[in-house]
């Protein structure tokens, strides 16, 4: 195993908890807004780590740029979608969760 491979593995492993946390949050959080929060934040970071991991495997700069671009686009799209869902939910009158 070369150094880059080790780094890649480490970064990939590091991304796992984020995904796990995001998924758990999606499943277990009490209301829609919390779930959205868990999903986007965790996934964005997780994906960032994956992209970072893959950058170490890239052959040339072009590929690195492409990977980064992917991350960027996903970030924007994720944020927008989360915004849209939240907006729609509020429009439909979803109540915020509060401890009673």
């Amino acid at each position: 195993m070369t150094v880059t491979e080790i780094i890649t593995t480490m970064l990939l492993l590091a991304s796992l908890p984020f995904f796990l946390a995001g998924t758990l949050g999606l499943l277990r959080f009490p209301d829609l807004y919390c779930r959205l929060h868990a999903l986007t934040k965790a996934d964005n970071l997780g994906l960032g780590l994956v992209v970072l991991a893959l950058i170490f495997q890239a052959d040339n700069v072009q590929q690195i740029i492409r990977l980064l671009l992917t991350w960027l686009l996903v970030l924007i799209a994720g944020a927008t979608v989360a915004h849209l869902i939240a907006r729609k939910a509020r429009g439909d009158g979803h109540k915020h969760w509060s401890r009673q």
Binding site: L73, I76, A79, T80, H83, L84, I85
Partner: protein, 328 residues
């Protein structure tokens, strides 16, 4: 390592099968559709594992993306509840027996027989890849899949373009497209996103199209991406000028098949066999077909999501363009 790969394959297959079962058995149709999209993405993974990168791209873009959008839109219109079940009629013994027999006995036993027989699938050392590679030089393109798609088996592809256009004609013949929700003005964030994404999607689809000449990619994938862009633009509040609803839209949708047919006719008129391109023109012809097809595919797919023929121009000029809500 081999075993690890095999284990990965097995996990993938198990996941696919259980996903399929779960989504079909799921009571909530929204969940089923979301699972179906996940299924499509995992399927793309499986295609990659089997060395079919083109198919994986197409599956992700078309199988999961567009089909998923279609299903979601359809779900929005249909609703999840099963309405109008067939009222139970007095049935004879035979009638009651048939479905039970079919489902309970035939399907599992046929499956098992097929699975057992499948072991005999001879491991032929090669399929037609040798033949394809040996003819690749004169095919006009460097990517084997594109060569097969647009030259060796171009007749299939022509007909498949026909299927696409036919589907559009069918959808248009059924109903007029109507906006699903008369919602308030789209969110400025969405507008911004669509403004940002549209150029990117156009560029990427162009790149994919070009890439089809030497690497995985091509008209389908590019077309699917472009149609996603169109849908996004519509979501972002852009609309087609009503003047475009008529001939221009139809021309855009029909040009893919039309060009292909014209080329086929030209090969015949030139005294060649059907779809036998002159060798020096092959590359150019393939590129031409691909470019036109991309546009055509994009328009057809976007129109299919809109789900109906455009409003008559004279009738209601202020009518909103077909819009959809893929992500609600």
């Amino acid at each position: 390592m081999i075993d690890l790969v095999l284990a990965f394959d097995l996990i993938l297959m198990t996941t696919l099968i259980s996903l399929a079962w779960l989504l079909l058995a799921s009571r909530d149709l929204f969940r089923a559709v979301v699972l179906f999209i996940a299924f499509g993405l995992l399927l793309a993974l499986a295609w990659t594992r089997l060395g079919a990168v083109d198919v994986a791209l197409a599956e992700a873009a078309i199988g999961a993306g567009i089909t998923g959008t279609l299903l979601l839109v359809g779900l929005g219109k249909l609703g999840s509840a099963e309405r109008c079940r067939r009222t139970p009629r007095p049935t004879t013994f035979l009638q009651r027996l048939t479905p039970a027999v079919l489902i309970g006995i035939i399907i599992p036993s046929v499956t098992i027989i097929l699975l057992l027989e499948l072991r005999q699938l001879q491991i032929v050392s090669s399929g037609q890849q040798g033949l394809v590679l040996s003819l690749l030089d004169i095919s006009g393109t460097d990517h084997p899949v594109t060569a097969v798609l647009l030259n060796f088996r171009a007749w299939d592809t022509l007909l498949e373009k026909g299927v696409l256009l036919l589907a559009l004609v069918s959808i248009w013949s059924l109903d007029q497209a109507r906006p699903l929700f008369h919602q308030e003005a789209p969110s400025p964030v969405l507008k911004g996103l669509s403004q940002l994404y549209l150029p990117i999607l156009v560029i990427v689809s162009g790149a994919l199209l070009w890439q089809g000449g030497y690497a995985p990619g091509g008209a389908f994938q590019a077309g699917a991406l472009l149609s996603a862009g169109i849908l996004l633009a519509i979501l972002g509040g852009r609309s087609l000028l009503p003047a475009w609803y008529g001939m221009p839209l139809r021309l855009l949708a029909g040009c893919g098949l039309l060009i292909f047919i014209l080329i086929a006719a030209a090969t015949l008129l030139a005294g060649n066999l059907p779809l036998q391109y002159p060798q020096e023109l092959a590359g150019a012809l393939i590129l031409l077909i691909e470019i036109v097809a991309t546009v055509s595919i994009a328009v057809i797919l976007a129109a299919a999501v809109a789900g109906g023929h455009p409003a008559e121009i004279s009738a209601t000029e202020q009518q909103q363009p077909p819009s959809s809500e893929g992500t609600s």
